[in-house]
């Protein structure tokens, strides 16, 4: 089985002016000045978002000199903060807002919230605004989804030569170019997030997030299941949360039907003041009476974890999304070719795929060999 994993590098290759991290952050900031900014969806006064990102940039400077260490609460935040420092400390004096990857702004946001004791729902609401602004910038008024038109025939042939294609990208270029189904590990613009689907189990619970909310179909991608956060372990948690929830609710529904004591306990949750407890109770009761209901599992990460055969990796940076590399390292892949952009990436990939490297099954080839239709060769 020939597998292919594609990252954002393919978009940067065919439009070097629009999809790098710097250009996306620049577009996020400039979009805040647009007259047609979707204020009904992202934030009612975009200047507030722009200025908030400016304040987070000033927090970044504090983070680089260790002043935010005390605010990193979870293991993931501490690891992300350490990686943040390693990434930016050498350019601290000249750092501009656009030099910081947007996903790192989520970390800065969380640290800032911890420092001034802001919790949910406000912390979540602001993060969602940031997420929507990010997706709005990436989508780039639809131009992103047209990049496949620039793919040369040999690139399309390379893509099509694989049996399965996985990607961390949200766009549909790979589908459009190859005519194949593609597994979007981090979600995709054209797939609705469960919370916006009226028919989902989520919207059958009492708080029903979609109630009284009117979606604007022009901005369908802002309602998508695209995942974006500052660290791979949070992404992995998000990817697996629905399958985990389904397993829990299924088991609880079974016990609810068979154990009167449990039934009484769960029934008491239905009127609990805590909305999480109340929702769980309702989900169990609904599942017991309607077994077909479930939280839709929107990311087929299991297929990725279970892949076998050969894997080519193209356009994926090894400096983020460590959960992806961890899954590859633990999979049944017997040969992996990493198409690198810079030679520094190769050392990092070797660290991230120790099993493959140790067995001599990890190979490196310059990505230009694909872009420029040169024959690949073993490293």
């Amino acid at each position: 089985m020939k597998n292919l994993l594609v990252g954002n590098g393919i978009n940067c290759q065919f439009d070097p002016t629009s999809y790098t991290s710097k250009q996306i952050v620049l577009r996020i900031l400039k979009n805040c000045n647009r007259r047609d900014f979707p204020t009904e969806i992202i934030v009612d006064a975009p200047v507030l978002l722009k200025d908030y990102l400016g304040l987070l940039f000033l927090e970044a400077r504090k983070a680089l000199v260790g002043e935010c260490d005390v605010h990193a609460v979870s293991t993931a935040e501490k690891e992300s903060l350490q990686a943040f420092k390693e990434k930016y400390v050498d350019q601290a004096e000249r750092l501009k807002m656009t030099d910081i990857c947007f996903e790192d702004y989520y970390l800065l946001h969380d640290l800032a919230c911890h420092s001034i004791h802001i919790g949910n729902p406000d912390q979540y609401t602001v993060r969602e605004s940031m997420r929507s602004a990010y997706l709005y910038a990436i989508y780039n008024d639809g131009k992103l989804d047209q990049l496949y038109r620039l793919y040369p025939e040999h690139v399309v042939a390379f893509l099509q030569s694989h049996d399965r294609i996985f990607t961390t990208n949200y766009d549909s270029n790979l589908e459009s170019a190859t005519g194949k189904s593609v597994n979007h590990l981090h979600g995709q613009f054209d797939r609705l997030s469960d919370v916006y689907n009226e028919e989902s189990l989520r919207n059958k619970l009492p708080d029903c997030p979609i109630r009284d909310y009117k979606m604007d179909p022009q901005y369908y991608y802002l309602y998508s299941n695209a995942i974006t956060t500052h660290c791979g372990s949070y992404k992995e948690t998000y990817i697996k949360q629905h399958s985990t929830a389904n397993a829990v609710v299924l088991r609880m529904a079974s016990v609810y039907q068979n154990d009167p004591k449990i039934k009484a306990e769960v029934d008491s949750w239905l009127t609990n003041e805590n909305s999480l407890v109340c929702n769980l109770g309702h989900a169990i009761v609904l599942k017991a009476s309607h077994p077909e209901l479930h939280f839709s599992e929107q990311y087929d990460f299991e297929s990725f974890e279970k892949m076998s055969g050969e894997l080519d990796i193209l356009g994926l940076s090894p400096w983020n999304d460590y959960h992806i590399f961890c899954a590859i390292n633990n999979s049944a892949i017997c040969k992996c070719v990493y198409y690198f952009h810079g030679e520094n990436d190769c050392k990092k990939v070797t660290e991230l795929l120790p099993s493959l490297a140790k067995n001599g099954n990890l190979y490196f080839s310059p990505a230009n060999e694909i872009w420029e239709n040169k024959n690949g060769k073993k490293a």
Binding site: V47, D51, G54, A92, E93, L95
Partner: protein
């Protein structure tokens, strides 16, 4: 043999004046680079770029005037105004390949657009 500079291409400015110029810009830019580095980068900008930067800053200022929510207090707007100018300086700094403080130094510099500044 010393290079002959064209008349008017260099202007000598007293140190205290360049310091004031740099510091005023940096109240908003909050840059970490030194004054001498900022002046070096400023001198590298062409006249056309300096004029273009000024024009864009003026446009951003026009947008800013009507951007703040009506229910904000004057103090809140003042605080956010400073940050907003900083962010715009970062936007233009990225687009023109220079530091944000240099962007703001293009506003009311002690020289003409086609002149380089040397600290006296």
């Amino acid at each position: 043999m010393a290079k002959k500079h064209k008349p008017g291409k260099i202007v000598f400015i007293p140190a205290n004046e360049t310091e004031k110029w740099f510091r005023t810009a940096n109240v908003f830019a909050k840059s970490l680079i030194s004054r001498s580095e900022a002046i070096r980068l400023f001198n590298n900008l062409s006249a056309e770029t300096r004029i273009e930067i000024c024009k864009e800053l003026s446009e951003y200022d026009s947008i800013r005037k009507s951007a703040f929510p009506h229910d904000m207090t004057e103090n809140e707007i003042t605080d956010q105004y400073t940050t907003s100018v900083m962010v715009d300086a970062h936007i233009l700094g990225t687009e023109y390949g220079t530091d944000p403080v240099v962007v703001l130094m293009c506003v009311n510099p002690p020289c003409k657009p086609n002149q380089k500044v040397i600290v006296r």
